[in-house]
Amino acid sequence: MPTLTYDKKDFFALLGKLVSEEELVEALSCLKAELAEFGENISVEFNDTNLPWIWSVEGLTAMLRGLLGVEKGLATVDVKKPERQTIVDKVPGRQHVATFVAKGKMSESLLENLIQLQEKFCESYGKKRQKVSVGLYPAKNIAFPVHYTAIEGTMAFTPLDGEHMSITDILEKHPKGKEYGHLIASMKKFPVFMDANNHILSLPPIINSEEMGKVDADTKELFFDATGTDERIVKLTAAIFAFALSKRGFAIESMNVSYPKHNVVMPDFTPQEMKLDMAQVDALLALDISEPTAKGLLEKMRYGTKGNIQVPAMRNDVMHNVDLVEDVAAAYGYSNMEAIPITTHSVGGTTPLQNFADDMRALVVGCGYQEIFSAMLTNPKSMTKDMRVKGKLAELDSYYSSSYSALRSWLTPVLLQFLAQNKHVDYPQNIFEEGPATSGTLQDERKLAFASAHSEVSATEMKEVLDFVFDAIGATYEVKEKDCEWCIPGRSAEILVNKHRVGWFGELHPEVLANVKLEVPVAGAELDLGRLFDHLTAS
């Protein structure tokens, strides 16, 4: 969730109203945003990742002006008719383009603002420039029409903060090339903006040209581009940046963007038309409000309400009538809504397996065992090698720490790890855990394992517990001698119910104990609760 920081003076100048911190918090909450700092600067954390318009201070204050009653109705921009043109060739892999020109007065602080927006926007919403990236240039040096085209990697220009070099070299050597080069590295030809005099303006989405693409505080006319893989997002981006610049007094001059087979005019502020379904407003909110009231609330959220509902072009998160309903609710104020108690009648309950597991836990507690609760993420070594067994695990593709790189496939290793961490605590130590484990089959298995550690422990103690537990659940089990790899030979057995294996018990092998650095003998047992339950209910 992105957090952006704004200059407080500038923020309030754009807002056009002085409000207290509390009022600001309240208004921001309607926009799913939180005030993170209210000092010399204002920092805002945005929870809604689908509304990047309000990440710009110009967009944010436009919305707040609606909520705070400064201005209402459709947020839009009057754009001049196109005089200039961008000609788009086939650029496989990054086909969509929007460009425009903005005339006005640049300043250091404004430039800083634009760069912050550009970075946050392209990193977060643009998925690290993959979906969309943005370029800004001084327009005065550019000979129109501009071409968006694909060229050979051997072609060269001087990138910002770099030497004159080939495109291939930029991708390999320039810091931005190293960071973003992978987005276009596999292309046969590389996307560039080039002016009518064949000067390269930029290599999107990597870097601008030093000669053609360096904006400073003296720039009076800006050329803007957005390129990307998703037409809607590219269009949205152009609208958001044009809106921000227009709020800064720039006149927006739209441009013809001519694709091989069609032509579009960018930026496009034509609002999406939607019909407000009042029946759904009532059904979802039960507020008993009239249509004019609902429309009034939407105007506060900067929608247009001439006839139908007009959605600002800076938003593409309004897909369905329910999105309008939510904005009606937000403007109405959630805190003004009275709660209605739920009367939906239903009978509560849990699963039979859960009940069984809880019974089993209570019985093992009755034998003097302390329950533990452990993480499911562990590592392959603990589950297999340390236990002298092999087996397929649910291992992870990538992870932060190799200690947490696989799911536990059984619980006994978890108990041993626990015992190994408590060598300084009084013995005897009797512990157990009940919960899911997941092996290489990727299916959850509900398990229950218990273990006892003290100097005179024996497998018989485990059998005592098993006898007690099985008697209590009214079941019988068979003991089938079997040398489990993790146990001392001759001191382990399988537990069978209806001839099916449902677990084991035994004395842990000294090598296993040494692997986990335990210096006290341990006896253990593990039951597959799901399987046990199935066999019990089947018989």
Binding site: K32, A283, I340, V347, G368, E371, A375, L407, P428
Partner: protein, 480 residues
């Protein structure tokens, strides 16, 4: 309580033996008890004022290891009497240097050019120190005091102090013994019950205020027990428990919840994907309906307008949100309408692991399925949760953002000490979720609660790692 009844078996054995004052070794020999037991019994008896003890200190001198070698001056003189000896040779003898001094003082030797020679007196020399040494150990008489001091200075004898403890019975003790203490019974035995011999017996009274050995009984893990209580609360509210797998498909974890595949939270690095996992098995019909909802929307809405990738949806990862269980339930043909469901599920967060972030976390979430449900019902339910789980009526609801609900709401509750805390999120499920999964005209409310944080508040735990404590001493002491 009667004093006699409170006597320990050890006390009762020792007290009658004290007809005369006796030492611990004497009492040990007589009672055949180890000395430690005698000492303990005497301590208890003394505390009860039945016995008093007297400690006598005996000071005397005894020969040291050096002293056992005999008087150095006698040895030195014997050598010198044979023939004159060099000082440096004599100095080799332990105490030799001092011995020459002593002998010179008594005019038995003279020193000349680094050599020691015997005088005429030498052959007649007597050594009173020697006879004193032989008397050791003793407390030297007045006359021997000077000699003893000199021997002590030279390290040939040393003073030792020996403490002797003698115990004697007090008048109270005598009284008690006279009255008889033997009839007090220590242990009620089956024989006594069978033959009725317990009748008329006095049982020894115990000191129950003394510290007993610690018992480590079995009990439930505190946080698991808290989750048990959460489960009970939901069942009491009429919610039915749902279940779902830990290894989940992208489909149920995200696609079915209307999260577009290009959503930033769906990057490969935002989840723990399972290595070499086969494509998940998802029923074709529901896959198709979800795909259409993403691509084209439902009820004339625009949808996300992108090419939905079925293979992407079949990738398998560790469940990132418990809501996956709700998605499965909504698509289940056995879904009850009206119905209320909940799940307590283990989820996984792809994040750095530290004191406040664990890779495993627990979530409680659920759904209410019915006709005519509104956002205001959702707010009503959330307020009820706040009352039950955070014990507060002071709640705040604000708009929230979740991909699968619209409108969405976030719930904050005022904790008496910690102020406003985020309890959870909720909302009315989007038609893009409900229609492809349920295929019926119903309203679905969905909610989720960060139960780990709730557990910390309720158990008074500051460090999140203590929810999954690896410290047995902590668990043994933990309240349940």
């Amino acid at each position: 309580m009667s004093l006699a009844e409170s006597l320990h078996v050890l006390e009762r054995q020792i007290l009658p033996l004290l007809k005369t004052a006796k030492t611990v070794p004497e009492l040990a020999a007589e009672s055949k008890l180890p000395e430690v037991s005698v000492v303990r019994a005497l301590q208890w008896l003394e505390k009860k004022k039945l016995v008093a003890t007297e400690t006598t200190t005996d000071t005397h001198f005894d020969v040291t290891e050096r002293g056992k070698q005999g008087l150095p001056e006698k040895a030195v003189l014997a050598l010198v009497l044979q023939r004159p000896q060099a000082i440096k040779d004599l100095a080799q003898i332990q105490g030799g240097q001092a011995a020459i001094g002593v002998l010179r003082q008594q005019n038995l030797v003279i020193v000349k050019d680094g050599s020691v020679e015997a005088t005429a007196e030498a052959s007649k020399a007597t050594f009173p120190e020697e006879s004193l040494l032989k008397k050791m150990p003793c407390l030297p008489s007045k006359d021997d005091k000077g000699l003893a001091q000199s021997l002590q200075r030279r390290g040939l004898i040393a003073e030792t102090t020996k403490k002797t403890v003698k115990a004697f019975i007090t008048d109270a003790g005598k009284n008690l013994v006279q009255k008889g203490i033997a009839s007090v019974v220590d242990q009620l035995t089956p024989t006594m019950l069978q033959d009725g011999s317990w009748k008329g017996k006095n049982f020894r009274r115990y000191d129950l205020t003394s510290i007993a050995p610690r018992l480590h009984g079995g009990k439930l893990q505190p946080y698991k027990k808290f989750l048990d209580s959460v489960r009970k609360q939901f069942i009491a509210l009429g919610f039915e428990e749902m279940d779902g797998p830990v290894v989940e498909s992208d489909f149920w974890d995200m696609d079915a919840l209307y999260m577009p595949q290009f959503h930033s939270a769906r990057d490969i690095h935002e989840g723990y994907y399972v290595k070499n996992a086969p494509p998940a098995d998802v029923e074709e019909g529901v896959m198709k309906r979800v795909k259409e909802a993403h691509e084209k929307g439902v009820e004339g809405s625009s949808g996300w307008q992108y090419d939905f990738d079925v293979n992407h949806a079949k990738r398998q990862l560790l469940r990132t949100q418990g809501t996956a269980c709700s998605a499965r339930m909504l698509a289940n043909p056995n879904l009850k309408i009206p119905g209320k469901y909940f799940a307590i599920s283990r989820c996984f967060r792809y994040d750095v692991i530290d004191s406040t972030h664990l890779p495993d976390f627990n979530q409680v979430e659920g759904i209410v399925v019915d006709k005519n449900l509104t956002l205001r019902h959702m707010i009503g339910l959330l307020k009820q949760f706040a009352k039950i789980f955070a014990h507060t009526d002071e709640v705040k609801v604000v708009p929230g953002y979740f991909p699968f609900t619209e409108p969405s709401v976030e719930l904050f509750a005022k904790h008496p000490e910690l102020g406003w805390i985020e309890l959870g999120g909720a909302g009315v499920c989007r038609p893009g979720v409900v229609q492809p999964l349920v295929q019926k005209d119903v309203q679905v409310l969905a909610w989720g609660i960060g139960v780990d944080r709730l557990g910390m508040f309720n158990l008074g735990i500051k460090d999140i790692r203590n929810l999954f404590s690896k410290d047995l001493a902590y668990l043994r002491k933990a309240k349940v």
